[in-house]
């Protein structure tokens, strides 16, 4: 299949505003896509070339993309910069550049680019390792761009920079697949939930639609975690669920653990396997009979919960693992059971799952506990638990519908999270600036962005307090490594560092285009566990603003 067929549909979809038309356009494309290419088309439409159960990422530095564009077109550094500043994304910049500027060299390959070739090339860029790999990645990209039309080049660059992820939405893709192969969208969604691979599911929908219903969880293949909405008050839970299940909200990292007989695999919420960095947890889990998948939170813990930063030193560690296991003890709180001895439990109500969890893990260890929970109708009881959580050093409470099913990857109202009053926002750093005085050589002033209504990043705050000196030094090095360009004392950086920001209040302001600003913002901590996809949007900012007004 030609890449052109895919990019043409993508352009049409972008130009339409009707959801139904978008779905129809994509479903027509999917219907004529050959079976073996179907998964690739699905991945590329979503802008992520790997299935969700894979932690692999398409990583190519911004400067490499920049160099590759300049190596294939007659464009000056200045003109490319102007184009980039016009759009704020390299994909749209390359489209304009390709329309206006000739290529430097003819391509020896005259056949048009196919989806398969493009996908294989991107896969290679993602997987090449070792010496020379950067040069080779860049050359592969040059080859792709050299044979691309402006539309195709935009599509390719946006896929690499991750901008494509804000293009065609996951939900629309599910509906398009269902329409293309005349399957029930609910069945398809369910199949995707258990498989974490939209490409595989699409292919099954095409080839054996009748088996879609029977798909189940694969032990050892990560599922996307079920997510929670923010609750404003304790009572919200009772209002929604009558009787609600309350759990402590732990301030750590979400993990899922798959145990298949003796084989234990521990995954982060991004599906990255971190088993080898947690040997003592693996060992304890191995002692538990049964095969299972549990959902849990891990925190650094020595007599009481320790700072989240400590955990960063343990997860993904490859060297001196044992030493750090002693230095930074951890505790695992298991709060859900998704699979037990051959049976998937995602359609089993939470309360029942909790019961099964208690029978599966009968002997908690010093390091592994079942998360405490209470089922109550009484807000007095819930309030006591909330206070208890805070006294113990936890983050707040989870409020769950006891009848809730486990829906991987969905953020629904079945689960709510409640934090104490002091609100924070998770925002992404888009620019960093040298400080003043003793911080004149350190990039200590950060500019943060939220996501506006169109899904674009928009600045909302600037802050320089909150981090320790050593952290600022570390971050200075880090930011220099992901800098896209320098403007005077400011670096524009890749949009990947998410920071939790404290502030006194949100104010209406004309300082930023979004119309709001934060009063006295300071950094609470860097959220290495969050990606730019998970930052708080302008809707959340407005919600907090509304609450502030009500309470004052």
């Amino acid at each position: 299949m030609l890449l052109k067929e895919l990019t043409e549909v993508y352009e049409k979809v972008r130009a339409r505003s009707s959801k139904l038309e978008k779905i129809t356009l994509v479903s027509e494309l999917l219907r004529k896509t050959p079976s073996e290419t179907l998964p690739l088309v699905c991945y590329m439409l979503r802008g992520k070339i790997f299935p969700d159960y894979s932690a692999q990422e398409l990583r190519l530095g911004w400067s490499s993309i920049w160099d590759a564009i300049r190596a294939v077109t007659h464009v000056s550094e200045e003109d490319l910069r102007i184009a980039y500043n016009k759009f704020g994304d390299l994909g749209s910049a390359v489209e304009l550049i390709f329309e206006q500027n000739p290529k430097i060299s003819v391509s020896l390959v005259t056949e048009p680019l196919t989806v398969e070739e493009c996908y294989n090339a991107l896969l290679k860029i993602a997987t090449l390792r070792g010496k020379e790999s950067l040069r080779r990645k860049k050359t592969i990209l040059m080859g792709l761009l050299n044979t691309s039309s402006p539309d195709e080049a935009k599509f390719i660059v946006k896929t690499i920079t991750g901008e494509m992820r804000y293009g065609f939405k996951q939900g629309l893709l599910e509906e398009a697949i269902a329409e293309a192969f005349s399957v029930d969208v609910a069945v398809l969604r369910k199949a995707y939930m258990v498989r974490s691979d939209i490409g595989e599911v699409a292919r099954i929908a095409k080839e054996q639609p009748e088996t879609l219903k029977e798909l189940s969880i694969v032990l050892g293949r990560p599922l996307r975690p079920m997510l929670a909405e923010t609750a404003d008050t304790l009572e919200e839970g009772f209002k929604r669920f009558d009787k609600a299940l309350f759990e402590y909200k732990y301030d750590g990292a979400r993990l899922s653990i798959h145990k298949n007989d003796d084989v234990v695999s521990i995954f982060t919420r991004e599906a990255e396997e971190v088993s080898t960095s947690l040997p003592e947890i693996v060992e304890d889990i191995q002692k538990i009979p049964h095969s299972f998948i549990v959902d849990c939170e891990i925190i650094p813990f020595e007599h009481s919960p320790k700072a989240f930063q400590e955990l960063i030193k343990r997860l993904r560690r490859k060297h001196r693992v044992e030493e750090f296991a002693r230095k930074i003890p951890v505790k695992l709180y298991v709060f859900d059971l998704i699979y037990l001895d051959g049976t998937a439990l995602i359609d089993t109500p939470l309360l029942k799952r909790r019961e099964l969890l208690a029978t599966a893990i009968q002997q908690p260890t010093e390091r592994i506990e079942i998360a405490k929970c209470i089922l109550t109708k009484s807000s007095a009881e819930a309030r006591i638990m909330f206070q208890e959580a805070l006294d113990l050093g936890f983050e707040g409470l989870m409020i769950k519908n006891p009848r809730s099913l486990y829906t991987p990857g969905k953020r629904g109202i079945e689960w709510l999270k409640l934090k104490p009053e002091a609100e924070t926002l998770d925002l992404v750093v888009i620019a960093v600036e040298y400080g003043h005085g003793k911080r004149a050589n350190l990039l200590s002033d950060y500019t943060f962005a939220t996501r506006d209504r169109d899904g674009n990043l928009a600045p909302i705050a600037k802050a320089f307090g909150g981090l320790k000196d050593a952290e600022i030094e570390e971050m200075t090095e880090y930011f220099k490594g992901i800098a896209r360009e320098q403007r005077g004392r400011t670096f524009i950086v890749e949009q990947k560092v998410v920071v939790e920001l404290k502030f006194d209040e949100i104010q209406k302001s004309s300082l930023y285009a979004v119309g709001y600003a934060l009063r006295f913002p300071r950094i609470k901590r860097i959220r290495w566990d969050l990606s730019v996809d998970e930052i708080d949007s302008i809707e959340t900012v407005e919600k907090i603003y509304g609450r502030q007004k009500r309470s004052s």
Binding site: P102, I104, S105, V106, L108, V109, E117, G143, T147
Partner: protein, 257 residues
């Protein structure tokens, strides 16, 4: 089944001529020898490589019956090779002769140099690009030049600029580089060359590529340059004492104005 014995220097010469353009590729093994056609990842350069079986001291090839169904050509087998890695292994040296043995089932290539045995994993052919079509080209001008002379000029040119002009002006072949400050020009009359078709034309090429290619041709005495006006460059030369042929193709640079 493929098993062969070859002089270490000859094999190194061949591999070097390949890595000048590509890091990896699909090597076609047949009864009459080895063949490779591959395009560099940037689609700017291409190599056609051929090594006859009599370049080997020993050469056994038999098409496995089980592999037959999977391959298009019944008389050949295709294996994905990381030539960079192979070149590194040959660099260890220690022997005058290299034994090669292919295990298609295990997807391994066993290489043995004296007492040193090295097992190389083959690359999945599905991960490699398909063999490129060679564009149909006609070159009005042909120049045959001593390799040393060509390479010396390229080495000097690299110090000056990013691209190089190759051209013919009447009876003269010239190579010209212009940097920000300096300029280098080599002009050779017909009688200083082995062969020249007179004409008036020139093309511009990326010096990075020409320099890489010039490393790959270092063992050949002469090279043949096929030229046109703003046209690809084709360089032909022999390897393995005439028992192998290499042909490079390089896309020209197009000037913006």
């Amino acid at each position: 089944m493929f098993e062969a014995k070859i002089d270490a220097i000859v094999l190194r010469e061949c591999i070097e001529s390949i890595t000048a353009v590509v890091d990896e590729g699909k090597l076609r093994i047949a009864e009459d020898g080895l063949k490779l056609r591959a395009v560099d990842p940037a689609n700017v350069a291409m190599i056609s490589f051929e090594l006859k079986r009599d370049a080997f001291d020993d050469f056994h090839f038999e098409k496995g019956s089980d592999a037959e169904a999977a391959n298009e050509s019944p008389a050949a087998t295709e294996v994905g090779i990381d030539f960079n890695k192979l070149q590194g292994i040959l660099g260890i040296g220690g022997s005058d002769e290299v034994n090669l043995k292919l295990d298609e089932q295990a997807q391994k290539l066993f290489t043995r140099m004296g007492s040193l045995a090295y097992t190389v994993s083959l690359l999945d052919p599905a991960s490699l690009r398909k063999e490129p079509k060679v564009p149909e080209l006609e070159f009005p001008v042909q120049v045959i030049i001593k390799t040393d002379e060509f390479r010396r000029t390229i080495r000097a040119a690299e110090k000056i600029g990013d691209h190089i002009m190759l051209g013919v002006d009447g009876d003269e072949f010239y190579m010209e580089v212009e940097g920000d400050m300096d300029k280098l020009r080599l002009g050779l009359r017909k009688e200083q060359l082995i062969h020249l078709t007179p004409g008036t034309l020139h093309s511009l090429y990326s010096l990075d590529y020409v320099a890489a290619m010039s490393k790959g041709m270092s063992h050949a005495d002469n090279i043949t340059l096929n030229l046109g006006k703003d046209y690809p460059l084709q360089v032909d030369f022999e390897v393995a004492d005439g028992k192998g042929k290499v042909s490079y193709l390089l896309a020209p640079r197009i000037e913006s104005e």
